[in-house]
Symmetry: C2
Subunit: 163 residues, 2 copies
């Protein structure tokens, strides 16, 4: 435990550098086009073959919004315009926070990137609820359709308890 | 650049471990009591002697809300009840995202922790605007007082551009 700190840390025996282990931010989008949502089927582990919203780890030197745009372009080849943040979900089991932005597809020229098997625009009644890759994505999509049904989009912050 | 990645990473020459460098989350609270806001005067660098809201790096194994409660207890000795998230501000210049929660002080038995010189409940017209430690805190406080003035608290997401 470094002086003045409250937790043990990884410290390099050789140079003394402290390696802090902090939660990582995953940023993504809910790209919408005429009521349908853009989903990607994963070509990578974890959850190969399952459906997800475009999302990934936020990188240094970018804002959360820029990260969501970048991941949507990388995974779905899709250009979007962001509205505000829609959900923020803590996942302490894996030390992550997932933030999803509302978004509008700018055109229909999307196509799967290296990390996706396919990309599709999906209606609410066709949503593959049993094959959604991550709980944060399912929670976000449920809030999105519920908010659309009541005609007003809010901001949803919650925690996924430890399994 | 590891296979399948899009950016160069720090890779250990000895064991091959990849050390990803991602933005860190800073979580904090806006503790309110009868219209006054709890502020801490920093006893540590950076910004020694300047005023801030209680906040700090989110740790592994906690949710964002738990982190905000913990930091408020550590820095201000204050017990609070959280309302929802109030602001989320990307600070790409330092690779951080700051998230502040609205909060209510549960009692007045607060006192400065090791990282604070003093803790005070401050009225809007006494706020030390010129001596606020961080831009994210100033932005958050400005939104808070503006929202209070119009009688409705929203959620505020924004970016602080690179200086």
């Amino acid at each position: 435990m470094p002086p003045g700190d409250t937790l043990p840390r990884y410290v390099c025996d050789a140079c003394g550098e402290i390696h802090y282990q902090n939660p990582k931010l995953v940023v993504g989008a809910i790209p919408e086009h005429e009521g349908r949502i853009l989903l990607c089927r994963r070509a990578i582990e974890p959850r190969y073959g399952y459906w997800t919203l475009p999302a990934g780890f936020m990188e240094n030197d970018e804002t959360a919004a820029e990260g969501a745009l970048r991941e949507t372009l990388e995974e779905a080849g899709a250009r979007i315009e962001l509205a505000g943040p829609f959900s923020m979900i803590s996942v302490p089991a894996v030390n992550q926070i997932h933030v999803f932005y509302r978004a509008r597809l700018l055109d229909l020229a999307f196509n799967p990137g290296e990390e996706s098997l396919e990309v599709a625009l999906v209606e609410e009644d066709k949503l593959p609820w049993k094959d959604i890759a991550f709980r944060t994505v399912a929670v976000t999509l449920r809030h999105w359709f519920a908010d659309r049904a009541r005609g007003e989009f809010g901001f949803h912050a919650e925690d996924l308890p430890l399994r």
